[in-house]
Subunit: 419 residues, 2 copies
């Protein structure tokens, strides 16, 4: 390991740990004032940010990045307006830090409850999308956390320009200058060092491709909050309203193809499949969605046979696999086995089936009579999200301000001692 | 790796994963009926359990285990009565599974909230205390989880006897027979395999010595819920009532020495140290507690000088380190730096100091005007605990039924699709 890189990381880690002690003491007012100043600073420096972004775009074109990557990388005045609007949205959100709940007296006389606190130091690793630099900063900052940001190398000039605005703001508003640190070197060994530093970093949030996320998890001694896949299902139960079922199934697949909350597999009860599938498949066909079906499905509509691999694939594309189910037990078992604990929906008009599905499906979002496309921090009222967790521990689903905090016990006595 | 051990683990892991799908569907009534039957079975088989425990005790004596270890290992009728009482306590506790909270309508028309669910498969690794076999079983079972238990090798005969009662009960009450599995081989390689099986095991809870816990964490790809240390502090702020401060400081240190919630370091404000320390040190002296002080402390009372190492040591013994503080900022910084995020208390009569301490100390239990000895699942009203977590993610502090569950989002619509 390069020793100057090791020293660089050590400095960053120590600065973060020291900042985090001060971050947890800031008042909501102080945090909001800094965010207001940040919005102004970004507005003031928009020409500089756009100019640096142009350097990244030119480099990206020279490297022949795909059109999709260049699109994510590129900024313009409208996107900067969105960043500023995002900052104002986070200012408006309630501060989760210090929230007290469930205080009650115990027979011993002590009063026991919980108080929400910042997690501490959060490391975020993300792809080449400069807007994430602002999103991650403002969510971590408002929730009283210190963050270490590592963006994709293709966006480095844009990120450094945005980071310059962040540093100016932190400095001018008298909050810890190291509350936000961007890794200006995109050396991969820094990611490895993060994962080896549980004494400094409290959680790592990787956002990006599966390869990156697996690499981060593989060696990490620091807990990781992540989602690997979005293999989302819609199960049309036999009592479903046909029109509702069709509309939801169509929306969940076709609203956007490349997003993690898009449906990848449609499960449909054998009793209503013959009635529903022909018209539904026509709608998909008109939208150029490729359908792949189980054996029974292929007897009803003329589509490509699905293979075992289809049931576990996140297409992120205009492809849908369809499987016919004998009953809800089979559907729930299929989802818990092949799904990725992201978002899964049932369409039903049977009360007990709805209750059963909500209890038994082990996904971070379980839905009844609506589209998996709603699985999103804004739609859930979190205001913003830093990602969606499909883990079992800590916060599940879209992670907003609350997901970046924990709850400690607080105990208030009047001099009690324990016998 | 021995291939028969690998196959053994594969079977156990698959059985656990399959059971966990059924466990999450059980009603509270079913779970309680099984627990009632388990209490009866333990009662019926007490002679058998005691006889097997005698085998462990004889082996332990032959191996010249310490008196403390033999004491933890030994069972008698009174301890079996306690196990049975423990089962009835857990029956009485509310079932956390299915609890719905924070449901509200969003502007889109969907209703969003959270529902509590079992974590899934929990592996628990513990020392040679046969009563933990029952405690872990009943807490995991009531919270809808499947568990894999790995007790200390010295207790293996006792554990297998208790496990026999558990298996009989699971079988007789028609719940998944693999809801609880005890590793009857105490081969350490099985612990390694657990940590390499994130597709089967959702969380590992190690209980025991620091060496074991570090070994489990070091290589684990499965999240670990743990507490490594209990370096607990009491800070006597300058406005503290002297009598209250003395009583609490005395209780926190001397109630029991070998427990994780015992105070290890006393921090005391410089303004009241000269007044308080002489009488307090006399009480400790009468109880044969060895005192080690910072330079300023040693000017007030004649005790051994403390070294840097003392501030980070969990004595688990009749030893206390004492340090004089300039103010509460210094005390909070000391606790956040040297503490282990377990339980830390302030004694004060200043409202703002109490508020500040609760907000800024980053421990799993933060206490005001009471003894750290209260940091305990029973005292907090959890009914029972499986351990105390000093981690930052998921549940912190004493882990009871709720800490063995997570919250998923539930979303209820009336046919909404997302534009």
């Amino acid at each position: 390991m390069n020793s100057s890189i090791t020293q660089l990381w050590q400095n960053i880690a120590e600065n973060a740990a020291n900042s985090s002690q001060i971050m947890r003491t800031l008042s909501t007012k102080q945090k909001n004032q800094t965010l207001v100043a940040l919005a102004k600073e970004i507005d003031k420096k928009r020409d500089f940010i756009l100019q640096e972004n142009q350097v990244d775009l030119n480099n990206g074109k020279a490297k022949q990045l795909s059109a999709a990557l260049l699109d994510r990388l590129s900024l313009d005045n409208a996107k900067i307006d969105q960043m500023i609007a995002g900052i104002h949205q986070v200012i408006e959100l309630p501060d989760p830090v210090g929230e007290i709940s469930k205080m009650s007296y115990r027979p011993s006389g002590i009063q026991v409850g919980k108080m929400r606190s910042p997690l501490g130091v959060i490391a975020i690793i993300y792809e080449s999308r400069p807007n994430v630099t602002i999103d991650a900063t403002i969510l971590c900052f408002k929730s009283g956390n210190t963050c270490i940001l590592r963006g994709g190398s293709e966006a480095i000039h844009s990120n450094i320009a945005i980071y310059q605005c962040i540093k100016n703001t932190l400095n001018d508003t008298n909050v810890p200058i190291h509350a936000v640190q961007l890794l200006e070197q995109t050396d991969r060994s820094l990611i490895h060092m993060m994962g080896q530093s549980p004494e400094y970093v409290d959680v790592i949030i990787p956002r990006g491709g599966e390869g990156l996320i697996r690499a981060v998890c593989e060696n990490s001694k620091v807990p990781v909050m992540k989602h690997l896949h979005g293999v989302c299902h819609t199960y049309i139960e036999k009592t479903a309203d046909s029109t509702m079922a069709e509309n939801i199934a169509f929306n969940a697949k076709t609203r956007r193809y490349g997003v993690c909350n898009a449906m990848e597999t449609l499960l449909i009860d054998k009793e209503i499949a013959p009635n529903l599938l022909p018209s539904l498949s026509k709608r998909y066909h008109d939208k150029n969605v490729e359908l792949r079906g189980c054996e029974q499905t292929c007897k009803i509509i003329d589509i490509i046979p699905a293979t075992e691999e289809d049931w576990q694939t996140e297409y992120l594309d205009a492809i849908l696999s369809i499987k016919i189910m004998d009953n809800s037990d089979q559907a729930i078992a299929h989802i818990n086995h092949y799904g990725s604990a992201h978002s899964d929906a049932i369409i039903t008009n049977d009360f007990q089936q709805a209750q059963k599905f909500m209890k038994e499906v082990d996904s971070s979002s379980v839905m009844v009579n609506t589209s998996t496309a709603f699985a999103d921090g804004f739609e859930y009222g979190l205001g913003a999200e830093i990602g969606i967790s499909t883990d079992k521990l800590h916060a599940r689903g879209p992670i907003g301000l609350e997901g970046l905090t924990n709850e400690k016990y607080i105990v208030i006595g009047q001099g009690e001692t324990r016998p």
